[in-house]
């Protein structure tokens, strides 16, 4: 455990708790983070059946402040930031002029002159550099990642467990909205958002308050909440078909290819990359992200090739065993028109295996 710190990895404000819980720690985007505390499948099912707590403090938290904040956020974001109301959250993508993705993120609107971007840890530096390259009149770009912590409480019991502990009413909070409240006497930004598909919250607080807040959240409901590591976070997001930057998205991939048409507002205000995306839309996509489902012992893995009648037509970007479905699932880019086929062959250790092409999410969650 001490070794990871010695390797120069950054620690989140909750690091000490992970060590005390006996977590298996890994290097993720330069942070020492818990891969798992017990067993990955157990942790995954804990979130689907009850509630789990994640330390996601490694995610970048960038604040855009000043009279030009709204115009700036709109200019860099493919979604309609201008339609966002105070206290609401929006999923969006930042694009290069050629339409490739700089990052995917959530954007919080505190007010017309104050937005927060929650970006991927692996992209934080690039996003900051890229934002600063863009014209930014009357705007301050402030990185508050290290001064704060971010946790996620996710699962069907998240609401009932948390509602009792927060002053004021929570049940009426809409998905993708946030409030500023006190939780165990700690001022927090509480959003009804997450990366698991389950109901739940993401909770931001000052770094100095994070460890004690983490402990109190873990004690909610006398053991009903369990800590959950990155391995389960990945299988949970994959069952929902959610993107992971560096896998489904990168600078050579457009959000249209990734199936994010619902996020890209080509009829709205102008943004960087719009012209390229309009052109791609008009010319038609050459490839498309699809869901892939294998049998119990046919597990897609990143880099596995997909074939149609012996010709390569695609490649897996993320793949895993699905604890909920007890089978292999994955996401893949497939050349058109092969994305319309019901099945393709996936090469697994030089043996072709049939996989079904499906539209994510792989599972249905009843809320």
């Amino acid at each position: 455990m001490g070794t990871l710190a010695a390797n120069g990895l950054k620690q989140t404000p909750i690091y000490q708790a992970h060590v005390e819980l006996g977590a298996k720690l890994v290097d993720f985007a330069g942070y020492a983070l818990p891969l798992s505390y017990t067993k990955m499948v157990e942790e995954h099912l804990q979130v689907r059946r009850a509630a789990g707590l994640f330390d996601v403090s490694h995610m970048g938290r960038l604040h855009i402040c000043g009279p030009g904040a709204e115009a700036f956020c709109q200019a860099v974001s493919v979604n309609n930031v201008r339609r966002l109301k105070d206290g609401r959250v929006q999923y969006t993508v930042l694009c290069l002029a050629n339409g490739g993705c700089v990052d995917d993120l959530t954007i919080f609107r505190f007010g017309q002159e104050h937005y927060e971007l929650v970006v991927n840890a692996s992209r934080r530096k690039q996003v900051i550099a890229w934002l600063k390259e863009q014209p930014h009149r009357d705007v301050e770009i402030e990185d508050r990642t290290e001064a704060t912590a971010l946790m996620a409480l996710q699962g069907p019991q998240a609401m009932s467990l948390l509602a009792k502990k927060v002053a004021g009413e929570l049940e009426s909070m809409r998905p993708f909205s946030f409030v500023q409240r006190e939780l165990f006497d700690v001022p927090v930004v509480l959003s009804r958002t997450g990366y698991t598909g389950e109901d739940g919250f993401e909770i931001e607080c000052a770094a100095s308050a994070a460890l004690s807040l983490w402990q109190q959240l873990l004690n909610l409901g006398d053991g009903k909440v369990k800590p959950i590591g990155l391995a389960a976070r990945d299988t949970l997001r994959l069952e929902m078909g959610y993107m992971l930057y560096g896998h489904e998205l990168d600078e050579a991939t457009t959000p249209l290819e990734a199936g994010l048409q619902w996020v890209v507002k080509l009829n709205g205000d102008d943004f960087i990359g719009k012209a390229a995306l309009v052109k791609q839309q008009q010319e038609g996509l050459k490839r498309r992200l699809v869901g892939v489902r294998g049998g119990r012992q046919v597990i897609p893995r990143r880099g596995y090739r997909l074939y149609a009648e012996g010709s390569p037509v695609g490649e897996i970007t993320s793949g895993s065993y699905s604890p909920t479905l007890d089978c292999g699932i994955g996401l893949a880019y497939v050349q058109k028109p092969f994305d319309q086929q019901p099945t393709l062959e996936m090469m697994v250790r030089n043996k072709p295996q049939e996989v079904d092409l499906v539209k994510p999410p792989f599972i249905n969650i009843n809320r």
Partner: protein, 131 residues
């Protein structure tokens, strides 16, 4: 977590173990290996009668997060395969040195055992690998 390494076994750099009984090498993977892999969901083993070669892959093990090859610690003919594993791969996590043995090999050259690590050397190897 304290990992267990029985002192009557031979160990490989690829984290397989060997227990020798009457000229037969019983092969499995170590607790360190199962702990690193996480939940095991798939195991592919060769048929009985297959000849395995020292340090050559004989099977595949797949966990929730990764795929790994299984390497033969010694050479010889496979006398018996653990048929329970493909249907219940999770046994590898529960009992890596017992129920989750994988193959039994008729040693073709007992001197190959000298190339394997004993428990103290393996423990040192594992603690190096962690760093």
């Amino acid at each position: 977590m304290n990992l267990e390494f029985p002192d009557d076994l031979y160990y490989t750099r690829e984290h397989e173990w060997v227990r020798v009984e009457d000229g037969i090498a019983i092969v499995g993977i170590t607790e360190y290996a199962q702990d690193s892999l996480g939940d095991v969901v798939y195991i592919e083993l060769p048929a009985e009668g297959t000849e395995v070669q020292k340090e050559v892959g004989f099977g595949v093990i797949e966990s929730v997060k990764a795929v790994s090859d299984l390497y033969a610690p010694v050479s010889g003919e496979i006398k018996e395969v653990n048929d329970a594993l493909p249907d219940s791969p999770e046994i590898v996590n529960d009992d890596p040195y017992g129920e989750a043995w994988m193959i039994k090999v008729v040693l073709s050259d007992e001197s190959e055992l000298k190339d394997l690590m004993r428990v103290d050397a393996y423990k040192a190897y594992v603690s190096d690998e962690k760093e």
